[in-house]
């Protein structure tokens, strides 16, 4: 029995046999609350059913930053272990080892299939108004004219709000809101100037390793690219907001960063952060910095027209695809100096990209779309890359994990242009791992070596890296049998961020009219897997998303599609057993999957396609060049 009377730390409240966790990390469908509950149950020697989570909120939760970067198990898990240790001593309890390491099912799955699960789109509040906003058609677009009276006269319209270049409508029903928005859209004219040419990129050396190496016998070079990629969540960005009569703001949001959003909302509305409460409510799938924060500003901006009334605002699919930040297009130039025996002497990796971080909470002005479009607009903060010590952005996974004698890694950051770039699952690591691991395959092929053996020879210092490669290869029966005509097998590997999980992927593809992936074999080392099936879900999900990006997606192409069920291959995931410290799993499989597919295409057809997506047109033109 736990001692009577509630005991608490910053994150934990123990009342009888029940523990309530106040956690600043939010549940996005990645199962973080389940994994953290397993840690707490073991640390306090309690049944898992006795561990409960409060919905994260700025008024009650510790500020644990943004739920991003595959860091929640590492960071929040460590913080909880520490506090549990204090409580355990105070309460005279014994830790157990029942739950950590078990594949505990996520409770949200049961509530989802029964239909009971509530997303932010489903929250009902008394007196709820429905809002829609109309943003300019492009960055810097200006309002030329609008017929507000015609919108105001529609049934159910409570208020129409025009503030600089931002327009909004409040109605008493969801359907009337759609009708009012359609009317607003058709009654407005915009003035759009062509955007100014982008400034020169800013170049910086990310990492350099020098050594006295001999003169190269030859140099290999190749240029790789990936296009803009949209988050493309199945549900739209959504928020609720309510102002009190005394000027306090409450926001319900599916943001990844409750406190960051609170700070920028306070900036945008010129109030103190203490006057803003942000409460987390689940949204549709989150894969990085999407429109969640922007729609929260829009809701608060519109709700200010009717103090006391809560407002729900949902972005349309058009808003989402036009205005939500996307993962930026990137170009990666690779070069390698080889000696006369094909041994690698020096490696060069140059990445061109817009910044990958435009999240709220970090700049002098709000990083919230609508706040740049009002009559008193804030300046749009520059999009940046975080320092490599905290994961980097464009340069993530650009520094080799192999024991090359010398290298030079440079990042060339393009200045902000008309499109918004920000963090999309794995940031620069997707393009960098795709490029570097494709290039490794090219070097191995150029020197007549097996790509697995080549990698292992350069990973002697990293036994955990070697092990995931060997295990993935064993699962796939690496090149042990001849591949049928048009079929190929390829490999990709990376240690995510160079500090996170080790992941190796072997892909089997068939290249006919279209490139199809038949199977992925994935081995991953995340240290101690708190919930092994949860790790498998994250690794599988990341791999499926990466297949979709690799084969099909380009946010600049209106015909771009997402992967369909009949295109998803068999995926076998091996989570290595380990007692080493736990590492995140959410982003580790994406880059290696892209490289494995591209390398399998080369194995199948003998051609390199270095630009994503690996479309039929690109494969055909690569074959034409090869003739």
């Amino acid at each position: 029995m736990v001692a009577s009377g509630p005991s608490r730390t910053a994150r934990l409240r123990v009342d009888g046999d029940r523990v309530t966790v106040r956690c600043g990390k939010v549940e996005l469908g990645q199962g973080i609350h389940t994994a953290l509950a397993q840690i707490v149950a073991d640390e306090l020697g309690l049944p898992l059913a006795q561990v409960h989570f409060d919905a994260p909120a700025t008024d009650t939760s510790p500020d644990e930053g943004v739920t991003s970067g595959s860091l929640s198990v590492q960071d929040a898990g460590a913080a909880l272990r520490l506090e549990c240790g204090q409580l355990r001593q105070a309460l005279g309890r014994e830790a157990t080892a029942h739950w950590v390491g078990q594949s505990v099912p996520r409770p949200e799955v049961a509530s989802t299939v029964s239909g009971a699960h509530r997303f932010i789109h489903d929250v009902e509040l008394p007196g709820l108004l429905h809002g829609r906003v109309l943003h300019p058609p492009q960055m810097g677009g200006q309002l030329a004219s609008v017929d507000l009276a015609g919108v105001q006269a529609l049934p159910g319209v409570v208020a129409v709000h025009c503030d600089g270049d931002l327009l909004g409508v409040l109605t008493d029903g969801n359907r009337t809101a759609d009708a009012a928005l359609a009317r607003l859209r058709s009654s407005v004219a915009w003035r759009c100037a062509p955007s100014a040419p982008a400034a020169e990129p800013v170049t910086r050396v990310v990492d350099e390793k020098t050594a006295a190496v001999g003169l190269p016998a030859r140099t290999l070079e190749a240029r790789f690219s990936k296009p803009w990629i949209a988050h493309a969540s199945i549900g739209g960005a959504c928020a609720l907001a309510q102002w009190s009569d005394d000027g306090r703001l409450t926001v319900w949001s599916h943001t990844q960063g409750l406190f960051n959003l609170r700070r920028d909302l306070a900036l945008a509305f010129a109030i103190e952060p203490g006057q803003v409460s942000v409460r987390h409510v689940p949204g549709a799938g989150c894969y990085g910095h999407n429109g969640a924060d922007d729609v929260a500003f829009d809701a608060a901006w519109l709700a200010r027209q009717c103090p006391g009334r809560p407002v729900r605002l949902v972005w349309s699919r058009a808003d989402e695809l036009a205005w939500a930040p996307q993962g930026p297009a990137m170009v990666v130039d690779m070069a390698a100096d080889l000696d006369a025996h094909g041994r690698l002497l020096a490696w060069r990796h140059d990445v061109w990209s817009l910044g990958h971080s435009a999240r709220p909470g970090r700049a002098a002005t709000p990083a919230l779309l609508g706040s740049w479009q009002t009559a008193a607009p804030f300046e749009r903060p520059a999009t940046i890359d975080m320092p490599l010590a905290v994961g980097g952005g464009a340069e993530r996974n650009a520094v080799p994990g192999y024991d090359f004698p010398a290298w030079r890694v440079r990042a060339h950051r393009l200045q902000d242009g008309p499109r918004r770039s920000s963090a999309l699952r794995s940031l620069g690591a997707f393009a960098n791992a795709f490029a570097a691991e494709s290039f490794v395959d090219e070097i191995a092929a150029a020197s007549g070596q097996d790509p697995l053996r080549w990698r292992l020879a350069h990973l002697q210092h990293d036994p955990r890296g070697m092990q995931v490669l060997q295990r993935a290869a064993a699962m796939a029966g690496w090149r042990s049998t001849p591949r049928p005509e048009g079929c190929g097998q390829g490999m990709g590997y990376a240690r995510y961020k160079n500090t996170g999980a080790w992941c190796a992927v072997v892909a089997e593809v068939e290249a006919a009219a279209l490139l199809r992936v038949h199977r992925l074999c994935i081995a991953v080392d995340v240290g101690l897997a708190v919930n092994p099936d949860g790790v498998r879900q994250q690794i599988e999900g990341g791999a499926v998303q990466a297949i979709s990006w690799t084969l099909k997606e380009d946010a600049s192409d209106p015909a771009s599609q997402m992967l369909r069920f009949s295109e998803v291959p068999q995926i076998d995931v091996l989570v290595l057993e380990s007692t080493e410290p736990s590492l995140g799993a959410g982003e580790a499989s994406l880059g290696p999957t892209a490289a494995a597919i591209a390398n399998a295409l080369f194995d199948a057809l003998g051609v390199r396609v270095r630009d994503l997506p690996l479309s039929a047109e690109r494969i055909v033109s690569a074959m034409d060049r090869n003739l």
Binding site: T112, G115, I234, E540, S566, V568
Partner: protein, 156 residues
């Protein structure tokens, strides 16, 4: 406004709403059946699928008038459906959801699929679910869950 009569999850409903109203809005707002989700709003993603006389239809582009006299089933009613309830259990057993936003539509789509083809194999299940998108990448588990139910009916 003329009445539109139909049943939802076995219950008779009489509504006085415009015949052009979106079935999705009627379900979510008038009837407070919130588990049917708005996805793309254009019938492309499958998130809003409901059963109409046993067939899966996109509620986002189905007008109310189209379901007059029909039996409509949403996820909230699947527990009373012999196939639906087995799919719900199989989705839990396979942990076949991440964010869960596409799940309602997929359960409906899979129910319609297994009504047509109770012992569908894996390829048929994949093809049968091609009208649904899932952005989290839960596809392998969703396919396993549906194939599991199909295999049960084969051995039953």
């Amino acid at each position: 406004m003329p009445a539109v009569e139909f049943t939802v999850n076995g219950q008779p409903v009489v509504l006085h709403e415009p015949p052009s109203a979106r079935l999705l809005d009627v379900l979510r707002e008038t009837l407070h059946l919130r588990a049917t989700r708005l996805g793309c709003g254009e019938g492309e993603c499958g998130a809003c699928h409901v059963l109409v006389d046993g067939r899966a239809l996109a509620a986002c582009n189905t007008p109310l008038a189209a379901v007059a006299g029909c039996e409509v089933v949403t996820v909230e009613g699947l527990a009373d459906d012999a196939i639906g309830v087995r799919l719900q259990r199989a989705f839990i057993a396979e942990q076949a959801a991440q964010c869960g936003y596409c799940t309602s539509g997929l359960l409906i789509g899979a129910t319609a699929l297994l009504r047509r083809e109770p012992a569908a194999g894996e390829a048929a299940v994949r093809a049968g679910l091609d009208g649904h998108l899932c952005r989290c990448g839960a596809h392998p588990r969703i396919v396993r869950a549906v194939v599991r139910v199909a295999a049960e009916s084969l051995s039953a």
